[in-house]
Symmetry: C2
Subunit: 99 residues, 2 copies
DNA sequence: TTCAATACCTCGGATCGCAAAGTATTGCCA
DNA sequence: TGGCAATACTTTGCGATCCGAGGTATTGAA
C-alpha cells in the first residue's frame, strides 16, 4: 500500500468534503474492503496533504462529536489529475512487464 | 516505485536467468524506459529475494567480467504467481476508486 | 591512456505505512 | 446505573524500502 495512499485520499475527496474517519469508511466501501487504511496511516497523510496545499480543513460538529472536514483545494484537483495520469501510466507499464 | 520492485524483478526473471545489471536493462527495455531502477535498489532487492528462497544465484564469467546469475526457484515461481494475482486485485481496486 | 560501458557492492538518508496506545464523546443495552 | 461499542482524532516509534552516492574492477574503443 506504499506510495498510493495520497492518490486514494485525493480521489475519495473528489466528490465532496469528508472527515478523516469518513474517508476511511468511504474508501473501504468503494473498494469493497480491499482498502482498509489504519488511522495511523490516514491522519498523518491528511496532514501532509494539507501542509502541501492540496487540502484545506475546518472544524465542524456533528452529533456532539468534533470533526475536521477536509476538502480538495484547486491545487489539490490539479494534483489529483496528475497523479491519476501517473497511476495509469504506471499500471500499464506493470501490466506489460508481468504479462 | 515502492512495494512493487519484487514483483517486477520476479517477473523479469520469469523467462530465464539474468544477472543484476541485465535485469535492470531488460526491465528498462520492457517498460520502454518507465522502470529505470537504480543499482542501489536492485542489488539489495535481489539479495533479499535470494535470502527468502525465491531466487538462487551462481557466479559466471562473460567477456572476462564476473556475473552473478539469478534464477527463479520453484518457490519463486509460486510467489510470482501470488504477487501477480495480488497486483491484479490491487490495480482493479485502485481503478474503481479513482474513476 | 583515458574514458565509457559493464558489473558488482555498500552506506546512509529520507520517506512512509501502520500498529499501538491514548483521549473524548455519544448511545445502546443489560 | 454502569459498561461497552462505535465514533473521532492524535501521536509515537518501529520496520521496511527506495535510491542517491560513492567505491572497486574489467574490458574495449577513441
Amino acid at each position: 500500500m506504499k506510495g498510493h495512499v495520497d492518490l486514494l485520499l485525493l480521489s475519495t475527496l473528489r466528490t465532496g468534503p469528508l472527515h478523516g474517519y469518513g474517508v476511511v469508511e468511504k474508501l473501504r466501501g468503494l473498494s469493497e474492503g480491499a482498502f482498509d487504511l489504519a488511522e495511523g496511516t490516514v491522519y498523518p497523510a491528511l496532514y501532509r496533504l494539507e501542509a502541501a496545499g492540496l487540502l484545506s480543513s475546518s472544524w465542524t460538529k456533528a452529533n456532539g462529536r468534533r470533526r475536521r472536514l477536509y476538502e480538495l483545494t484547486s491545487r489539490g484537483r490539479g494534483e489529483l489529475a496528475r497523479e491519476r495520469d501517473e497511476w495509469q501510466a504506471f499500471a500499464h507499464a506493470v501490466e506489460v512487464v508481468v504479462t
